[in-house]
Symmetry: C2
Subunit: 517 residues, 2 copies
C-alpha cells in the first residue's frame, strides 16, 4: 500500500471557516452583557454572564487569528455554518453551568437548553419554569439565545444557504433578487444589516404592544420583563416563555396580540424589505405568503370547530374559560395553537394535552408544514410544499402529454428543475429522518422504561427536528423533555442542530467527497 493512500489531502480551508467562527464568537460575546444588565437591576449574580462573555471573546479572538487572509468558498461556508451552530450553543451553556440553578446545572441538560435556544426550538429540560427557581437574568439569557439564534438563521437562510443550493433554499434568492449575492463575503454585511433592522424593528414593536396592553390595564401580569422576554422569543419563532404555562398565563387579549407577531415571524423577511421599498403587493401577491395564510386558516378553523363542538377535547380544562359553544374562546385557542405550530413558535395558549387524539393528530401533521423560507421558522416550510404540489399538478398533465414542456413558475420567475429536485429530496430526507428518529427515541424510551405512546414518540421527533418545541404527553407544552435519558437528549440535540441547518448542510460535511478535491 503506497503512502499516498494515507495521505490526508484535505482540500477544505478549514482555517478560514474557524477564523470566521472566531469573528462570530467575538461579536456574540456582547450577548451575555444584556442578561448581566438584568442581573444588575435585580441584584442577581453577574458571574455567569461575565464568564461566558470572557470565554467567547478570548476564544473568538484566538480563532480569528487562524487565518488573516480568509476566503470563504462553498465548502468553507458550509463548514463554518455547521460548526458555528455547534460551538456557539456550547459556549451558551456557560451561564447555566456557572449559575448552577436547577436541572440545567447538569452539562447534558445545559447543552439541550442552549441548543434548543440557539436553534429557536423552544424544547425545555427545565424542571420547573419560574423566576423563583431560576434567576430573572438566567431566564433572560435563555430567551436571548433564541433571539440571537433567530437573527443568525435569518442571515444564514437569506445570505448563505440560498447561495449554496441547500435543499432548494435557492428559491429564497429567486424570490428576493434584491438579496442575491454574487460572492459570499462582500454583500453579506449589507444584507445582514437590512435584515437586522427589520428583525429589531418588529421585536421592539412586539415589546411595545405587549407592554402597552399592560399599561392600558388589559394585561396585569405582562410587566416590562415579560414584555421584553416574549418579544425576544416571538420574532425568532422561538417559544421559550418565562411562564410555566406559556402564553396561557396572560389575558385573552394578549393571546390575540401575540398571533399577528407570530405570523410576521413566520413570513419571508425579504418580503418586508419590499414593503419598505413601497411595494406591498410583493408581499400580498406572494404565493408562499398566501399558501401560508391559507394553511393557517384551514387548520385553525378545523381545530376551532373541533374544540367549540366539544369533540376536540379529551378532558375539559379547568384553568381556562369554557370552550364548548364559546366562539371567541374556541377560535382563539384553535387559531393560536395552529399559528404557534405552523410558524414553529411553539407557544401554548392552553394545554393541548387535554385535546382528543384526532385533534392532536391534526396538529401533529401541521408540524410538518413549517413557516416561510427566509424566516426563522423551522420544519419543511410552506414554499417547499407549494412547489411539490405544483409539480404534482404538472405531472398529471405530462402523463397525458408526455412531450409537453411546462416550467414551474412562482411569482414571475421560472423555478429551474434542479431546484425542484432539491426540494423533493429535502422533503423526503426530512420525513425519513423523522421516521428513523421516532424509532430511535421510542426504543430508547423502552430501554429506560419510560412509557410513552406512539403519538408522543412521533411528536418528540418532529418537535426537535422541526425546531418547534413542545409535543404531546410528557413533552406537552406545560411539561418538559427532562425524563428522557442523556443519550436520548444528546440525540435530540443532534436533531435540533441538523434540523436547524436544513439537514443537508450538516450531512454533507460528513461525506468523504466534501474533504477531497
Amino acid at each position: 500500500m503506497s503512502a499516498s493512500t494515507f495521505d490526508l489531502d484535505i482540500y477544505v480551508d478549514w482555517r478560514s471557516s474557524f477564523s470566521f467562527l472566531g469573528t462570530i464568537l467575538k461579536v456574540l460575546a456582547l450577548g451575555p452583557l444584556f442578561p448581566a444588565l438584568v442581573a444588575l437591576y435585580y441584584g442577581e449574580d453577574l458571574l455567569p454572564f461575565l464568564v461566558a462573555a470572557a470565554a467567547m471573546a478570548v476564544t473568538g479572538v484566538g480563532l480569528e487569528r487562524l487565518r488573516t487572509d480568509r476566503d470563504l468558498g462553498n465548502r468553507e461556508a458550509l463548514l463554518m455554518v455547521s460548526v458555528t451552530w455547534l460551538v456557539v450553543p456550547l459556549f451558551g451553556t456557560i451561564p447555566y453551568l456557572v449559575a448552577g440553578q436547577g436541572t440545567v446545572a447538569h452539562p447534558v441538560n445545559a447543552l439541550f437548553e442552549s441548543m434548543s435556544g440557539f436553534t429557536t426550538t423552544g424544547a425545555t429540560v427545565l424542571g420547573e419554569i419560574s423566576v423563583e427557581q431560576h434567576s430573572r437574568s438566567i431566564m433572560m439569557w435563555r430567551q436571548l439565545t433564541q433571539w440571537i439564534g433567530g437573527m443568525g438563521i435569518l442571515v444564514l437562510m437569506v445570505a448563505i444557504l440560498s447561495e449554496l443550493s441547500v435543499g432548494g433554499a435557492q428559491i429564497i434568492s429567486e424570490e428576493a433578487p434584491g438579496f442575491s449575492l454574487e460572492k459570499l463575503t462582500p454583500r453579506i454585511q449589507e444584507t445582514a444589516r437590512t435584515l437586522w433592522k427589520i428583525y429589531l424593528g418588529f421585536t421592539i414593536a412586539a415589546a411595545l404592544v405587549y407592554y402597552g396592553l399592560h399599561l392600558a390595564g388589559l394585561a396585569p401580569n405582562m410587566d416590562l420583563y415579560n414584555a421584553i422576554a416574549h418579544a425576544l422569543t416571538t420574532l425568532p419563532t422561538g417559544g421559550f416563555s418565562p411562564k410555566a404555562r406559556s402564553v396561557e398565563a396572560f389575558t385573552p387579549i394578549v393571546q390575540w396580540a401575540v398571533m399577528p407577531f407570530m405570523i410576521v415571524a413566520g413570513t419571508n423577511f425579504a418580503l418586508f424589505w419590499y414593503v419598505l421599498q413601497g411595494e406591498p403587493k410583493r408581499l400580498t401577491d406572494n404565493p408562499e405568503f398566501r399558501s401560508y395564510l391559507l394553511a393557517i386558516g384551514v387548520v385553525g378553523l378545523l381545530i376551532s370547530v373541533l374544540l367549540g363542538s366539544g369533540v376536540g377535547l379529551a378532558t375539559v380544562p379547568s384553568n381556562i374559560g369554557p370552550l364548548v359553544g364559546d366562539v371567541e374562546n374556541s377560535l382563539r385557542q384553535g387559531l393560536f395553537q395552529t399559528i404557534a405550530i405552523v410558524t414553529t413558535t411553539g407557544y401554548a395558549s392552553m394545554d393541548f394535552n387535554t385535546w382528543s387524539q384526532p385533534t392532536q393528530l391534526v396538529l401533529l401533521f401541521a408540524m410538518f408544514l413549517g413557516g416561510s423560507a427566509g424566516s426563522a421558522a423551522g420544519s419543511i416550510k410552506i414554499v417547499r410544499w407549494y412547489i411539490v404540489y405544483r409539480a404534482m399538478g404538472r405531472q398529471l398533465f405530462t402523463t397525458v402529454h408526455p412531450t409537453a414542456v411546462r416550467p414551474l413558475r412562482m411569482s414571475d420567475s421560472v423555478i429551474d428543475e434542479e431546484t425542484v429536485r432539491d426540494i423533493f429530496i429535502f422533503v423526503l430526507l426530512f420525513v425519513s429522518l423523522f421516521v428513523f428518529s421516532t424509532i430511535v427515541i421510542y426504543l430508547d424510551a423502552v430501554r429506560t422504561g419510560l412509557g410513552i405512546s406512539a403519538l408522543e414518540a412521533m411528536s418528540v421527533a418532529i418537535a426537535t427536528l422541526g425546531n418547534i418545541g413542545p409535543g404531546f404527553g410528557i413533552v406537552g407544552p406545560m411539561n418538559s423533555f427532562l425524563p428522557f435519558s442523556n443519550l436520548a437528549k444528546l440525540y435530540m440535540v443532534f436533531l435540533m442542530w441538523i434540523g436547524r441547518l436544513e439537514i443537508i448542510s450538516v450531512l454533507v460535511v460528513f461525506t468523504p467527497a466534501y474533504w477531497r478535491r
Copy 2:
C-alpha cells in the same frame, strides 16, 4: 359567450377503452365457474356464481361491440385501466349479494369486500370469518378475486403502467428489457402469457407444499380446501384467509412454509423470467431484490428481538406458545409479520394487537415500504425507496461539486432524470394522500362516535391505500372494518382502487387536460 365554450370536444376514444373492458369481462366470466365447481362438490347453492358469470359474459359481449377497430393509445389505456378496476369489482359483488350470507349481503359491504379482493388488499368486512357462517364456495370466490386481481395487476404493471411512465413505473421495463413493448397491443398477450405461467406455477407449487405438509401429518387442518385457498391468496399478496385467525390457525411449520412464498409473491416477476432463461444472477444481483431482503431482515430481526425480550408485547397472548426467551417462536413471529407487511400480503401468524405500541409503530412505518415493482405487492415499493436514497446520496455529492454530472445507475442501466422525478412525486403524493385520508377517516369516526386511537386511524389509511389489509385495534388482523360508517367504507373503496393503480393513473382521468386535445 360563444357556443364553442360549451362544446364537449372529447379527444379520448372512450369506446375503445370500454370495448377492451368488454373483452376482459368476457374472459373473467370464466372466474365464477371455479367456485361453482366448489359449490357442486359441497352441495352448495350454484346460483350466485351462475348469475355473476352470466352478467359478466353478457355485459362483456355488449361492451366489446362498442368498437370493432379499437386502437389503444396512452389515454385509452389509462381510462381502460381505471374503469376496469372499478367495473370488475362491481360485478364481483354479485355472488355476495345473491348468496345473501352475513354482513356482505349489504351492497356497501359487498363492494368493500369485492374491491378488497380484486385490489389484493385483504381488508374485510365479514362479521365472522368461517365456513359455517359463509358457504365454502362463497369463501372460495372471495379468495379467487384476489388471485384474479393479482394476475391482472402483474400484467398491468409490467405491460402497461411501465409504458405509460406512471409514478416512475418505467423503472420496471428498464429492469426487464425482455418485456419492453414498442406498441401496447401486439406484445401484451405474449408478456401476459409468460407472466401467467410463472404466476400459475408458483400458485400450484404453494398449494402442493401446503397440502404436502398436511399429507405428511405436519399440518392437520391444512386440508385440500385450505391449501388451495391459501395458495390463491399468497401469490397475489392478497391475504384473505378462510380462517378467522389467519395463518395463526395452522402449525408453526405451515407458517415457516408460507414465508418463502410471500417473499416470491413480493419479488419482481420479470426477474423469475431471467431465472428460467438460465440467468439466476439477474435475480440475485438485482438491487431492488437485495434491498427488499435487507429491509425484511433488518425489520424482522428488530421485531423478533422486541418480542423475544418481552418489551415488544403489551399483553401476553394465550393462544400461541410463549415468546419471551423462545428463539424459534420469536423469530417466526417477527419474520412472518414483517414479511406479511413488507410484501403487503397481510396474513397474520399472531394477533399483533397484543404488541406494545413501539413494536406496532415499527410495523406501521414498514407498511410504507411495499414489495417489489413488477409484483402484485402494493404500497410505495422498495425500488422507489432505493432510487430516492441513491438520489439523496448524489445530492450530498453535488452540494460540494455543483457542476458534477452523476447519472443514477441501477444494475447496468442509467435511470433518466425524468424517472427519478416521477418517483419523487409518486412517493410524496402517496404520503400526502395517506395524511389527508387519515384525517378524513378519523373525523368520520369522531362523527359516528367510533372511538379509535391515532395509531388505529393511521393504520386504516395505509392498510387500504397500500393494499395491505389489516391494521391495528378495531381493524387488527383478527378483526374487521365492519364498524366504520358506509361513507367511510366507500372512501376506503376509493383508496384501495386509487392505491392499486399507482394513484396517478386514476387521478389523471379526472383532469380536464386528459379529455382535451
